[in-house]
């Protein structure tokens, strides 16, 4: 039986720190309001780097920190909803930027669950095929999908990327998974609506463009998260036959700190088990979980081969959600 292990991780965020105070210059809000409702104190916003650049800089750091040659990489998967282009894929742009010329590369779209989905897909491709090394990345420049006059959303979303290296070998990282979608509720979180518009429409085209920005029904998303995510986390613990006391960390998608704390409360788990960094980075959709992982690797909170058990829990647009129980 082939084993697939996570052998390292890193992250890259833009230099520009945008504080809550900065946002009060753009829209009617306040530092206290933002902190009380989201837990966010600052976020990173791109001053020009696009998603492929954030992801490529992450990839270079992963390769350097794990001593991997880019030509050894067999697969690159980039989870994103804010690609540079519809084509080429962000993953192909990353491939070119880092010189991973032996890889095949593609993007995966599952919004805030994107990294969890990409990790699950990458792991199975490796297990099934003759692949030994994969870069699994999650990155966004949500600032280009944000309506900076909409105070319900512009205080939350941000830019950044992270990722991990998967390697076939002696060590197994993947212990249990639970992944779902519910397209029936998809319209409660949308962005970048692309309507059909061509000269062959009955009215001859000239259709108003769809709303390009992120639009969110807060109640629906809150309801969805609280009713689905705690159960999903619980299910991977049960499938692996362990207890919550065996977990080193739970890394939830950093949607909103109140939601992370709400999930912890519902599970009856001490909030200190939840790794939370939203105060510094905001919500970067597919970026939040790999940025957290990357940060934990660089801080020494995680170390490949030490055997710590963690849960990654993604949830968001689609609607999509999923949990992975992983041994690092």
């Amino acid at each position: 039986m082939k084993h697939i292990g996570i052998s390292g991780g890193h992250y890259y965020v833009p230099d520009r720190i945008v504080t809550n105070e900065d946002i009060t210059q753009l829209t009617d809000t306040s530092n206290e309001w933002i902190i009380a409702r989201t837990g966010i104190e600052q976020r990173r916003i791109s001053t020009g780097e696009n998603t492929s650049e954030l992801c490529a800089k992450t990839a270079v750091r992963i390769l350097e920190s794990t001593g991997t040659d880019p030509e050894e990489i067999d697969i690159i998967i980039t989870a994103t909803v804010s690609p540079d282009y519809l084509l080429p894929s962000t993953a192909c742009l990353v491939q070119s930027r880092i010189g991973a010329r032996n890889a095949f590369a593609f993007d995966l779209g599952a919004a805030c669950s994107g990294f969890v989905y990409a990790l699950a897909v990458g792991e199975k491709l490796m297990r099934a095929g003759a692949y030994n090394k994969a870069l699994i990345l999650g990155g966004e420049t949500l600032s280009k999908l944000t309506n900076w006059e909409d105070r319900a959303t512009c205080v939350i979303f941000a830019d950044g990327a992270g990722g991990v290296l998967l390697e076939a070998g002696e060590r197994e990282s993947f212990l249990a998974e639970d992944i779902h979608s519910d397209g029936d509720r998809g319209m409660s979180l949308t962005a970048g609506h692309m309507k059909v518009n061509n000269p062959f429409l009955p009215e001859g085209g000239g259709v108003e463009p769809g709303y390009p920005y992120i639009s969110m029904d807060g109640r629906e998303i809150f309801d969805f998260t609280m009713r689905n995510v705690p159960g999903s986390i619980k299910s991977v613990v049960e499938k692996a036959g362990i207890g919550f006391e065996d977990l080193k960390y739970i890394i939830p998608h950093q949607a909103n700190d109140r939601i992370s704390l709400g999930i912890a409360k519902k599970l009856g788990v001490d909030p200190s088990v939840f790794y939370r960094n939203i105060s510094r980075y905001g919500n970067t959709s597919a970026g939040t979980i790999p940025i957290a992982l990357g940060e934990m690797f660089t801080k020494g909170l995680l170390e490949a081969g030490r055997g710590d058990k963690i849960i990654l829990a993604g949830f968001g647009g689609g609607l999509t959600w999923g949990s992975l129980l992983i041994q690092i």
Binding site: R37, G218, R219, F222, D223, R227, N256, R258, G262
Partner: protein, 73 residues
Amino acid sequence: MVFEKIRDIIAEQLGKEVDEITLETNFREDLDADSLDLFQIINDIEDEFNVKIEDVEQVVTVNDAVKLVEAQV
């Protein structure tokens, strides 16, 4: 009965004493609850009574929540 259960849910969620909460209590003005607090309270009420409260905007006072539940049980 409905009021007592709702009062207990609110007290638990917001960390308040039950005697601070009456039918006339306004979630935002009297209890300093924001939208996320209210979403969680409504979810807990839905689970407790097995009802569905579609429009959270309608819920301003505790009595609003009690009436919406009583109409469905």
